[in-house]
Amino acid sequence: MPTPLKTIAVSPSRCIGCLNCELACASRDWGTLYPAPSRIGLVFFRDGAKIPLTCFQCDNAPCLSVCRTGALSRDARGVVASDPARCIGCRACSAVCPFGNVAYSQAARAAVKCDQCGGAPRCAAACPSGAIRYVEDQDDVRAKREAFARSLKSAAEAI
């Protein structure tokens, strides 16, 4: 399974909660500044902590494994992208993503998920504080990602 050559790296400690990422993402296909259909989500906590979360482009992606029409497919960059023309709206992908990263959009009549904007993610471009960066997936990033994934895994088991 190819690993993305570049990846969206998230540093929650740098997040200032401005929501630019959500707005930039939501404005992509609908031309609106309404964050609900955003593929990236900022989660706020009572103590002021903020964590931006978006698709991890899992190696064994559950969404991909339940899609039977080819609407979700892994592209040459290793990213799981969605093709609305092939989507039949069964929403299985949305029901099985453990992280809540696939939504079904009534407006688009299709599943929507992060595809890293085909190589130039708007969220990273819109982030003023470096909390979301689009970086080469080199060894140091990879190590961080793996550490992140490990904590995720224990978190997933805890849910």
Partner: protein, 286 residues
Amino acid sequence: MPGEPDSCAAGGGVPAGAALPGEAGAGSRPRLAEPLVEGTVDGVRVAVPRGATILEAARLCAIEIPTLCHHEGLPPEGSCRLCLSETRGSLAVSCMYPLRESGFAALTRSPAVLEARRYVLSLLVCRAPRAPRIRKLADEYGVSPDPRFMRDPDGCIRCGRCVRACRASGPEAIALCGRGFARLVTGPFGRPPEACVGCLACALACPTGKIAFSERDGVRRIWEREFELAPCPECGKRAFTREQLAFLGGGASALCHSCRRRLMARELGKAAALEAPGGPALLRAL
């Protein structure tokens, strides 16, 4: 995983090719590894992978061919006949006709094509005279229903998109049965389909909007069946039917995607806090 690994290939005119387990396989995707063949569509030169259809070639040239039964995510069936084009002096079903050799020359608006398309439309409009999409096409082509075939128009054009969508998503709850005027989409033995999980893929796939469904008080009704929409344990929003969650098994849950993301962030925060200096204090704050 729902469905047979080859559930997309069943019934399709074009074999699905060898989809890797776990990677989706659609019925009609042209193999990109195929060599290119060259030809023209309405005189526009185009090169496509061998085995691509006339419809795909036309779309590459930005030439529009109207379609009804075709869906890019489903195996083609060629049942509505609206997409006719002309090649080698005879009519071809564009959404299924594979281009195998260089030198093809397809015509999408020749007199023969337009005449045949008008005739097809005059029949389709008898089946679904009120469907907005059919009416728009009929207006565009100046077609009125042929009274000889106007019998109990029920809004269904028997294109089978719903059946293919249901088969692709797994349950295979409905099928096209019978012939001629008696042909219709139904559950087994004409009864409400027991295998239906209420996912709505059929209703969304239908080009005429024939498949009715409703949602009220947390209950979805479709195919004369009722499905309880499971409430998200966090926020109460209802996104999936219990039957669909059971059908998907394993990782599927009634948690809506925003709550799932929120829970994930909280657990992540806890995991990070445990390792951070001053962790326990952070942990209480989350």
